[in-house]
Symmetry: C2
Subunit: 255 residues, 2 copies
């Protein structure tokens, strides 16, 4: 713990085989705001064009990734490191699900630790000697009969959980897309307009059922939480449908 605050966990891929998975890991890290990638002993050398293709724009993460020969060099600047694995190793080690693991990593970050997670190779996962030096095992609530995640998917789940631990709120860009609901006065206008037209068309039959039918119609419209603009649109719908109907047209012409 040399420096006071490193809020961002490192992702250390130990012996990854496929460039595609390295690139996909970089992409999902960028999606969820992480950037510290370490790659130990990539099977196909480095740089890897397939990784760049799959990164889909997260090139900066690949370019600044720390590439090392073994797992120790990939984590030796970290203070708290978890080992992601789907297999118990017979090692005495705390085992955390992703939600609890992320909360504990946050505690370490707040205490000033530099944190990270190691992910093993596609074929065999993390080597036992890497799991042995980790501070805890990170594992996912998988179906035990089909427990092995794709490498990049395993990274995705961690990055997502890390980000979500800071809040589940959709990006603010979505906030701007939502309008407030219409004023009740607008809705009463729509209700009345619709009900008048339905009355003219003989919809409320038998007449004693009209109050209940009106309430049900209003309840479904209320549930739609229409905006002011949508109320105007639906007024237009009612108008056009009513005008298009023969008997009403006749009646209007008669008036």
């Amino acid at each position: 713990m040399n420096t006071p605050h490193h809020a961002e966990p490192a992702i250390a891929l130990i012996g990854p085989q496929l460039g595609e998975n390295i690139g996909a890991a970089a992409r999902i890290m960028a999606n969820f705001g992480l950037g510290d990638l370490r790659i130990a002993a990539p099977r196909d050398g480095w740089p890897n064009p397939k990784a760049q293709a799959m990164a889909a724009g997260a090139d900066a993460i690949l370019e600044t990734a720390q590439v090392t020969d073994g797992f120790a060099a990939a984590i030796d600047t970290l203070d708290v490191v978890y080992a992601a694995t789907a297999r118990p190793r017979g090692l005495e080690k705390p085992v955390y699900g992703p939600r609890e693991g992320v909360l504990r990593l946050w505690e370490a970050v707040r205490a000033g630790a530099r944190v990270g997670v190691m992910f093993g190779s596609e074929k065999s996962g993390l080597p036992n000697d890497a799991v042995a030096v980790s501070d805890a095992i990170l594992t996912y609530p998988v179906d035990v009969s089909f427990a092995s995640l794709n490498l990049a998917q395993a990274v995705a789940v961690f990055c997502y959980e890390w980000r979500t631990s800071q809040g589940d709120a959709p990006p603010t860009v979505f906030a701007q897309a939502q309008s407030p609901p219409a004023a009740k006065a607008d809705l009463f206008g729509l209700y009345g307009h619709l009900e008048d037209e339905l009355e003219r068309a003989g919809f409320f039959h038998p007449p004693e059922k009209k109050p209940m039918m009106v309430d049900n119609l209003r309840a479904s419209l209320a549930r739609a939480s229409l905006t002011h603009q949508e109320v105007q649109t639906w007024r237009g719908v009612v108008r056009v449908l009513a005008e298009g109907r023969g008997p009403y047209k006749v009646r209007k012409d008669e008036a």
Copy 2:
């Protein structure tokens, strides 16, 4: 809502381009215990050998997947469908993060609804006409400057969140790997053994600091939560180190 309880959400891929992503989606569904895959208008036809290769054993999900021409047929047996998208569409629609979205889908399931999520194509995401008929937008707390997830990663995050909403606990296979901590009597034995050897080696210097040094040593050993077996191992470590040390050896020989 025709039947009382469909606990499992359907995953509907709308216009997916790459077989690899369809296969990776099937694999992660199987990892997290989901099985109802629907595929609308896969670009490269169906079946797709690349999907099978990436499914890595989740073949049953691909074999039973419902393949349709358009998005409507892929969701028409569902009651509540969310649209996964990273882009606001200017449509008035509830917007949920994955955690809130999953909670709301569970509410729908408990009310008897059949639920699902639509994911769009790699190139352009969901078409607006599919988003329009959805019950809500599902979006992720991504970095808005790099918001587009790989298709299979987007499916992974949802499947993970669905599973985790039922509990974060590691699979029970991990529970068997952990032994209880050693009895305090074992630990007192180790402490005493270590401290006796350190005393002989002249480690406690100056003598008035010994109590504090002992407490600090014991505190770090206590924090390791050693098991009974590990205490035996460390007793052996202390013994061998002490025997190997020259002066002690001499002293022992003298005794």
